[in-house]
C-alpha cells in the first residue's frame, strides 16, 4: 500500500502540471495494480532503485550512481522527483530498521547535492531536509550523526537562489538538544554533542547571510544556540581536566567538543552585525548567571575573550555596554558575582582597546563609579537595603572590598584605552565626584556619613590614581586644568593621611612623564647621580607656563604637607619623589631656585618646630632636605654648591647620622632627642647657598629671601575637618595673585599691597553703593524732622566725616582672615557693620 501512495503523488502532480509522457500515464494506471512491474516504472525511479544493492553491506552501487547523477544533471527538472522518491525510500527504510539502506540513500543524496548546480538544488532541498529531519528524529545515535553530517555538507554549499519558505526551527532545536546529550556511553555522548555543534554551525552558515531566510539572530534561536555552545565549552573543560589517561587526552585534542564549540562560537560572533550583537550576547550573560559562572571568573573571562576577539572590532563597545548593563542589573547580587562581571569588563576593555568605550565615554565611568558608591554603601550598612543580618557582614565587607578593587582596576583599564584628551576629561569627571565638604555633594553628617565620605574619597582617589598611572601627556597645562588641580590639592590638605598620600601619588604620576619615579622611590644621599640613569628632557615652554601658573600653589601644598604630623615614611618618600620630579620635569632656573628655598623652609619647620612635631617627623624632614639638596646640587652641576651640600652631609654623617635618610627611613630609625641642641654646621644655610649659586648666575636676591608660604594665618587653622571653607578662598587668591606675584620677585610680600589695592578698589565702591542706598532709604522712611535736620547740615562736613570713617574702617583689618574675605567678594560682612554703626549718628547731627 505504501507503494501506491508514493507512486500516486508525483504522478498526479504531473497531471496538474500539464505535459505528461504517455508511459507515465501508463504507470499511473498500472502502479496500483502491479507495483513490481519494473519496466513500467518511470526512468528516474528505476535509476534510483538501481543504486541500492541486493545486500546493504555491499554499499552504494557506484556505476548506477553515476548513471543517476548523469541523468539528474541532464534533466534537472526531474531533481525534485528524484529527491522525493529517495526520501520516501529512506523514510520507509528507517521505519523498517534497514539502516544499511538508509546510509546508502544518504550517500546518494549527498553525491547528488554535490554534483548538481546551485540553481537546481533548490528543487531538491526540500526532500533532502525532510530526510535529514527524519534521521534526526531517530533515537539511534548513528542516524542522528549521519543526518547531521549530510546537513553539514549541504550547509557548505553556497546557494545563489533564495528559498523563502525554508525553516530551520526544528534543526536548531534538535541540534541544540544534541549538544546537551546525556547518552550513557561517554564516547557516543561526545559524538552526539559534536554532531550537534556541527549542525548548529551548519545552520548558522546556511542562514546567517541570507536575509530572506529565517533570522537566525532572533532571540528564539540565539537562546538555544549560544547556551548550547557555551555548555559544551564549559562542560568538556571540566571533564578534560580530569581525563584519565594521556592517550585519551591526545585523542581528544584532535577534535574535542570544546574546541569545536569555540570555533563555532567564534564563527557565529564574527558574522554578527551591529543589530545582532545584543541578541547574541544576552544569552551568554544569562547562561553565566544561571550556571553561576561569574564567580570563579575563569570561564567568564575565557568566554568574553573569545567574544571580544572574534567580534567585529567596531562592535566591541556594544558588548561592553551590555556588560555594564548587566552589572547594573546585578547591583544587588553578591559581591563576588559583581566582581566577576567587573573583572570580565576589565579584560574585555583591554582587548577592545580603543573600541571599548564607544560614543558614551562618561557613561561608562559613571556606571562604574555608581557601582563603587553602591558597594561602599553595602559595605557600611552590611546589607543591600538596610536591615542587615550581622552574621554575613564580615564576609560581605571583605568581598565588597575585592569588588571595589576590581572596579578601580577596571576604571584604569578603560581609561588606558582612551586618547589623552578624553583621559583628562575622565579625570576631571572623577575628581568632581569626590565628595569635598565645600561642595554640596551628599555630605552626610554624623559618624556614618563621615565614614562614608572618607571611603568614597579614598576609592575615588584610588580610581583617579589608576587612571593617572596610564596617563601620558606632553602638556601639563591642558592635562591639569585649574579646576581639577584645585580640587585635587584641596584634598591634600585634609587631615586624613591616606588621602594625602593618594593626592601625592596622583600628582607624581602626572609629573613623571619619563618613567623616572621608580628611581626616587627610596630616599638616599647617593654621591653620584649618574647611577640613577635619569631620563631628562628640556623643560618645554608649556611646562614653564604651567609652573608660572601653578608653581606657588604646588610649593605651598608641599610645604603644608610637610608640616603634617601624621606623615609616615611613605609620605616623605612621595614628597621626595615629587620634589625631584618637579626638578627634573618642570624646572627652569627660577623653579629650581624656588624649590631650593622651599626645601630650606622645610628644614626650618623641623629646626624651629613651632608645630611640636615628633622627633621622627623632624628627623625625616631634615633627611628629606638633605637627600633633595644632594641630588639637586648634582643636577645644577655648580661645584661650589655641591661642595657645600657635601660638607653638610659629611658633617651629619659624623655628628648626627639621624638627620640623614639612611638612618631615618629604615625599619627602626635611630632618632635623637637632642634635636634642639644641634650645631650650625649640620644645617644647610640659605646665605651660603645663595652665595654659591649666585656666583653661577642664579638669582641670588631671590635665593636669599626665605620662602614663606602665603596665607599662613589661614593655614594655621589647618587642623580643620573640612577643607571646604578654604577652597574657594585659596582658589581665588591663587588665581588673583599669581600674575602679579610672578612679576615681582618675593611673592609673599606682595600680599599686603595687593590686598590693600583690592580693598581700596572693591570696598570703596561697595560702601559707596551701600551708602547711597541707605540715604535713599532714609529719605523715604525717616520722619520729616529728621530730614529737615539733615538738610540743615553741611554737605561738606558730611563728606569729610565720611572720609574719615572710611579710612578708619579700611586700613587696619580686624583680622587677617577678615581682610582676605573682604578682599574677595564679600566686603559687606566687615565694612557694613562699622558703617551702619556710625551712619545714624552722623545723620542726626
Amino acid at each position: 500500500m505504501a507503494l501506491t501512495t508514493w507512486a500516486l503523488g508525483p504522478a498526479l502532480r504531473l497531471c496538474a502540471a500539464g505535459p505528461v509522457c504517455s508511459w507515465e500515464m501508463l504507470h499511473v494506471a498500472g502502479a496500483g495494480v502491479c507495483g513490481c512491474c519494473g519496466a513500467l516504472r518511470p526512468r528516474y525511479k528505476r535509476l534510483v532503485d538501481n543504486i541500492f544493492p541486493e545486500d546493504p553491506e555491499d554499499g552504494l552501487v557506484k556505476t548506477n550512481m553515476e548513471k543517476l547523477t548523469f541523468y539528474a544533471l541532464s534533466a534537472p527538472e526531474k531533481l525534485d522527483r528524484i529527491g522525493a522518491y529517495l526520501s520516501e525510500r529512506l523514510i520507509r527504510d528507517v521505519s523498517r530498521h534497514r539502516y544499511g539502506y538508509v546510509c546508502i540513500a544518504m550517500e546518494a543524496l549527498d553525491q547528488l547535492l554535490m554534483a548538481c548546480h546551485c540553481q537546481s538544488i533548490n528543487l531538491f532541498v526540500e526532500s533532502f531536509l525532510k530526510m535529514v529531519a527524519k534521521l534526526l528524529e531517530s533515537e539511534k545515535p548513528n542516524l542522528q550523526i549521519l543526518g547531521t553530517n549530510s546537513f553539514v555538507k549541504f550547509a557548505n554549499i553556497e546557494e545563489d537562489t533564495p528559498s523563502y519558505h525554508r525553516s530551520y526551527d526544528f534543526f536548531v532545536s534538535r541540534f541544540s538538544e544534541m549538544c546537551h546529550s546525556s547518552h550513557d556511553d561517554l564516547d557516543i555522548r561526545t559524538k552526539i554533542r559534536m554532531s550537534g555543534i556541527k549542525g548548529l554551525q551548519g545552520v548558522v552558515r546556511k542562514t546567517v547571510n541570507d536575509e530572506l531566510q529565517a533570522n537566525i539572530w532572533d532571540p528564539q534561536h540565539m537562546d538555544k544556540i549560544v547556551p548550547s555552545l557555551l555548555f559544551n565549552l564549559q562542560h568538556v573543560e571540566e571533564s578534560e581536566s580530569r581525563s584519565p589517561s594521556p592517550l585519551q587526552a591526545t585523542e581528544k585534542e584532535k577534535e574535542s567538543p570544546t574546541e569545536l564549540a569555540e570555533r563555532c562560537l567564534r564563527e557565529l560572533l564574527g558574522r554578527a552585525a551591529y543589530g545582532n550583537i545584543k541578541n547574541a550576547i544576552k544569552p551568554v550573560l544569562i547562561h553565566l548567571d544561571n550556571h553561576s559562572l561569574w564567580e570563579p571568573k575563569i570561564f567568564a573571562t575565557c568566554c568574553f575573550r573569545i567574544i571580544m576577539y572574534s567580534i567585529q572590532p567596531q562592535h566591541s563597545h556594544l558588548v561592553i555596554q551590555q556588560l555594564l548593563g548587566h552589572l547594573d542589573a546585578n547591583s544587588k547580587s553578591a559581591a563576588t558575582v559583581r566582581a566577576g562581571i567587573v573583572e570580565v569588563l576589565s579584560e574585555a576593555a583591554v582587548i577592545a582597546a580603543s573600541g571599548s568605550v564607544g560614543p558614551t565615554v562618561l557613561e561608562v565611568f559613571n556606571t562604574l563609579l555608581r557601582q563603587l558608591r553602591l558597594s561602599i554603601d553595602y559595605a557600611l550598612t552590611g546589607s543591600y537595603d538596610c536591615g542587615a543580618g550581622v552574621s554575613t557582614k564580615i564576609i560581605k565587607e571583605h568581598e565588597e572590598r575585592m569588588f571595589q578593587e576590581a572596579v578601580i582596576k577596571t576604571i584604569g583599564s578603560f581609561a588606558s584605552t582612551l586618547p589623552t584628551y578624553q583621559q583628562s576629561e575622565v579625570m576631571v569627571f572623577i575628581m568632581n565626584k569626590v565628595p569635598l565638604p565645600s561642595t554640596q555633594q551628599s555630605i552626610e553628617a554624623g559618624k556614618a556619613g563621615e565614614n562614608r565620605n572618607r571611603l568614597t574619597q579614598i576609592m575615588l582617589l584610588k580610581s583617579l590614581l589608576q587612571v593617572s598611572v596610564g596617563f601620558q601627556c606632553s602638556n601639563m597645562l591642558t592635562a591639569l586644568p585649574s579646576v581639577f588641580l584645585d580640587r585635587l590639592l584641596s584634598a591634600a590638605l585634609m587631615e586624613d593621611a591616606e588621602i594625602r598620600l593618594f593626592v601625592l601619588e596622583i600628582l607624581i604620576s602626572f609629573i613623571d612623564r619619563h618613567g623616572n619615579r621608580q628611581k626616587f622611590s627610596t630616599i638616599s644621599t647617593i654621591s653620584d647621580i649618574s647611577v640613577l640613569k635619569l631620563k631628562v628632557d628640556k623643560c618645554s615652554r608649556q611646562d614653564t607656563v604651567f609652573m608660572k601658573k601653578h608653581g606657588q600653589q604646588l610649593y605651598r601644598h608641599i610645604y603644608l604637607i610637610c608640616k603634617e604630623e601624621s606623615n609616615v615614611q611613605a609620605h616623605y618618600e612621595a614628597l621626595y619623589s615629587m620634589l625631584m620630579l618637579i626638578s627634573i620635569e618642570l624646572a627652569n632656573e627660577e623653579v629650581m631656585v624656588d624649590l631650593i628655598r622651599l626645601v630650606l623652609a622645610v628644614q626650618e619647620i623641623a629646626q624651629i618646630n613651632e608645630d611640636n612635631l615628633t622627633a621622627y617627623n623632624r628627623c625625616a624632614l631634615f633627611a628629606l632636605g638633605a637627600a633633595y639638596l644632594n641630588l639637586i646640587s648634582q643636577l645644577t652641576t655648580v661645584p661650589t654648591f655641591c661642595q657645600h651640600i657635601h660638607e653638610v652631609i659629611e658633617m651629619r654623617q659624623k655628628e648626627a647620622p639621624y638627620l640623614l635618610p639612611e638612618d631615618v627611613f629604615v625599619e627602626r630609625p635611630r632618632l635623637s632627642k637632642s634635636l634642639d641642641r644641634l650645631g650650625p654646621e649640620v644645617f644647610f644655610w640659605q646665605s651660603k647657598i645663595s652665595e654659591v649659586l649666585g656666583g653661577s648666575g642664579y638669582n641670588s636676591d631671590r635665593l636669599s629671601t626665605p620662602y614663606v608660604p602665603q596665607l599662613t594665618d589661614e593655614d594655621r587653622l589647618s587642623k580643620r575637618k573640612s577643607i571646604g571653607e578654604t577652597i574657594s578662598l585659596q582658589v581665588e587668591v591663587e588665581s588673583r595673585n599669581s600674575p602679579e606675584r610672578e612679576q615681582r620677585a618675593p611673592a609673599e610680600e606682595i600680599t599686603y599691597e595687593t590686598l590693600k589695592k583690592a580693598i581700596d578698589s572693591v570696598a570703596v565702591e561697595e560702601q559707596e553703593r551701600e551708602r547711597r542706598r541707605q540715604v535713599v532709604e532714609k529719605f523715604q522712611k525717616a520722619p520729616f524732622e529728621e530730614i529737615a535736620a539733615h538738610c540743615g547740615a553741611r554737605a561738606t562736613l558730611l563728606q569729610s566725616k565720611l572720609n574719615q570713617i572710611f579710612e578708619i574702617t579700611i586700613r587696619p583689618p580686624p583680622s587677617p582672615s577678615g581682610t582676605i574675605t573682604a578682599a574677595y567678594g564679600q566686603p559687606q560682612n566687615h565694612s557694613i557693620p562699622v558703617y551702619e554703626m556710625k551712619f545714624p549718628d552722623l545723620c542726626v547731627y
Partner: protein, 186 residues
Amino acid sequence: MSMEDYDFLFKIVLIGNAGVGKTCLVRRFTQGLFPPGQGATIGVDFMIKTVEINGEKVKLQIWDTAGQERFRSITQSYYRSANALILTYDITCEESFRCLPEWLREIEQYASNKLTVLGNKIDLADKREVSQQRAAEFSEAQDMYYLETSAKESDNARQNTLENNVSSPLPGEGKSISYLTCCNFN
C-alpha cells in the same frame, strides 16, 4: 504529496520542577518503560511518538526539559514554539506544586498555550502531600486540564489518559496544525 508519515505534527514541551518525573513520563509514553535511576536531564531531551487518533496519524515531538534552575534559559526558548505545554508536579512534594504559579508566570512570557497540569507519582499515594481536590481547583481556576498519573506503575488505562490528554484536546482548541502549515518539514 502524501509521502509524509503523519497527518498532524505537534510540539509538546514538558516543564516542571526538577525531579518530578518528566523524563520518566516521556519514556513511559514513548518507549513504554520506566527507567529506574534516571539522572537529571541536561538541557533538553527529545522524543518522537506517533499516535493514531480517529484514523489520523499524529506525530508528537516531545521536548522534555531539564527542571534544574541553571538550564532555565535554554528551556524557556523551547516553550515558544510549542503547541502544548505539560506542567508537571509531584503529588508527594508540596514544593513542586507550590511552584506551579511561578511556572505559569514564566510560561506567560513565552507562550500562550493551553496548559495541562499533571500530577505524577500517584504510585506513592501514601506519601501524598498535594490533594487531588486542591490541584483540581487550582487547574480549574487557571483554565487548565488536570490529570494525575504514575510513570512507574502505568497500567494501560493511565497510559491512555496521558496519551489522550496529550493528543486529543489539541485539535479541539483550534490549534491543530497540519503538516503544511507546520513548517518544520517543508
